[in-house]
């Protein structure tokens, strides 16, 4: 259990970032985040440059800043964890106002926060500018095992169908006067989860029958492999390349 997950991040648009093939965006994301993760924790200047780079990428997507800002909430549980670090880490202490904090914990906590935040911000660029089905195609292009691609494809295809079922069940509960306010609501909600499982499983079986009826034997035919032009490679490469250059400048100085 933990904080709830939102869904549907995709923000329809026609920016250059939207038009990049998904597999390039995935590669760029991984390249950028890896660079950030490998950066020494006291290289404060580098983190400032990374932040600038992600902000530029976010602007290039022409998605309103507020849209990104609201989605940063996924970070909350681990922000709390990072904020605890100065109190619990070992090593020499420093006085910050009335508190005696671990010096090491302060730096460590900062690095956790910086790396995690940059990771979330960069991931948001991918998530908001790429349709879910294109992300699946991109992962397929990047050689994710076929079975996982199929499983993810079905999950994405039926996302709206199942969340729609879930919200209809909610309407049905509430129109009969039910309100979830305390632990007493658990049996009803758990029954909803149970009913959702039965519906999902049965739909899985029906989908399987429909697939068999059209000659499915276990793998999906690949009919249109995704392609990318050299120009697209260059555009997608800009973010990780700039980050990597920053890292190199920092470590070689």
């Amino acid at each position: 259990m933990g904080a709830g997950h939102g869904h549907h991040l995709h923000f329809h648009g026609h920016s250059p970032v939207h038009h990049l093939p998904a597999h390039l965006k995935l590669l760029a994301l991984v390249g950028f985040v890896l660079t950030v993760v490998l950066t020494p924790r006291t290289a404060f200047a580098a983190y400032a440059v990374y932040l600038l780079l992600v902000l530029v990428a976010q602007r290039a997507s022409r998605v309103p800043f507020g849209y990104f800002a609201k989605r940063m909430v996924v970070e909350v549980p681990f922000v709390l964890f990072a904020l605890l670090m100065p109190f619990v880490a070992t090593g020499p202490r420093v006085d910050v106002g009335p508190l005696r904090l671990s010096e090491h914990g302060l730096v460590g906590g900062f690095a956790l926060l910086a790396k995690g935040t940059l990771g979330v911000m960069a991931s948001l660029v991918l998530a908001t500018t790429t349709e879910p089905r294109h992300v699946v195609a991109g992962l397929e292009r990047l050689r994710l095992p076929g079975q996982l691609v199929q499983i993810m494809g079905f999950m994405v295809r039926y996302l709206e169908v199942v969340t729609g079922e879930l919200s209809r069940m909610k309407v049905a509960r509430e129109s009969r006067g039910f309100r979830a306010t305390s632990v007493r609501a658990w049996p009803v909600l758990a029954t909803t989860a149970g009913a959702l499982f039965i519906r999902s499983y049965e739909r899985g079986e029906r989908v399987h029958l429909a697939m068999l009826s059209r000659g499915y034997t276990g793998s999906l035919p690949v009919t249109h492999p995704a392609t990318a032009t050299p120009a697209q490679w260059r555009v997608a490469g800009m973010l990780p390349a700039a980050a990597l250059a920053t890292l190199l400048v920092v470590v070689t100085r």
Binding site: R157, M211, S213, R214, G215, P221
Partner: protein, 249 residues
Amino acid sequence: MTTPVLEVRGLAYAYPDGHQALFGVNLHVHQGERVALLGPNGAGKTTLVLHLNGILTAGAGSVSVSGLPVTEPNLMEVRRRVGVVFQDPDDQLFMPSVRADVEFGPANLGLRGAALEARVVAALDQVGMLDFIDRPPHHLSFGQRRRVAVATVLAMEPEILVLDEPSSNLDPASRRELADIIRSLDVTVLMVTHDLPYAYELCPRSVVLSDGVVVADGTTREVLTDDALMSAHRLELPFGFDPRTIPTP
């Protein structure tokens, strides 16, 4: 007499939970026929349909398609010959785009490139959905999804088209358009339906399934005007519809 497109003999089946749904069904459908399969809820119509392309395996009895028995080694060919359109188009349209969905069947049959594209375009054109080729299925209206579902099956160029409740949940205009599409197709059709006027309009012949057995077979007009048969099997004509006063279409 020629080999029937569909031949079902003594078919019986029980679901894994032990519930028996079919108790010895006999049915023949010949080339070019359009047959309605009628019967109350729970009669076993969908269960029968699932045997026609070997999704369910007969517990007793047999099914053949144009003389080819529906058995494990023939499944691929049987599934090419028998096109099944399921009741819920959401179950049938499982791919991320209309194009990918219509390609799925013929691609499994080994088609690629221009031949595949031609099939897809032709099938979507037949149901008037060519303009929607690059849309995701879940962004289409229900009626549009039903039509794409028909196209996914037409793209396999089946010998017999089996439709499970094709008119359910359609508004009157979509229902009418689908009827026009079905009439325009040059294939044998077996249509499961509760929509008796639809059966009357589209299918010269009707078969009634009740409690897992066939209880009547005749012209749709005969079946619908046999009051004793109709009431014995929970079949009711909608208010104001009387086949006696309507000329055979």
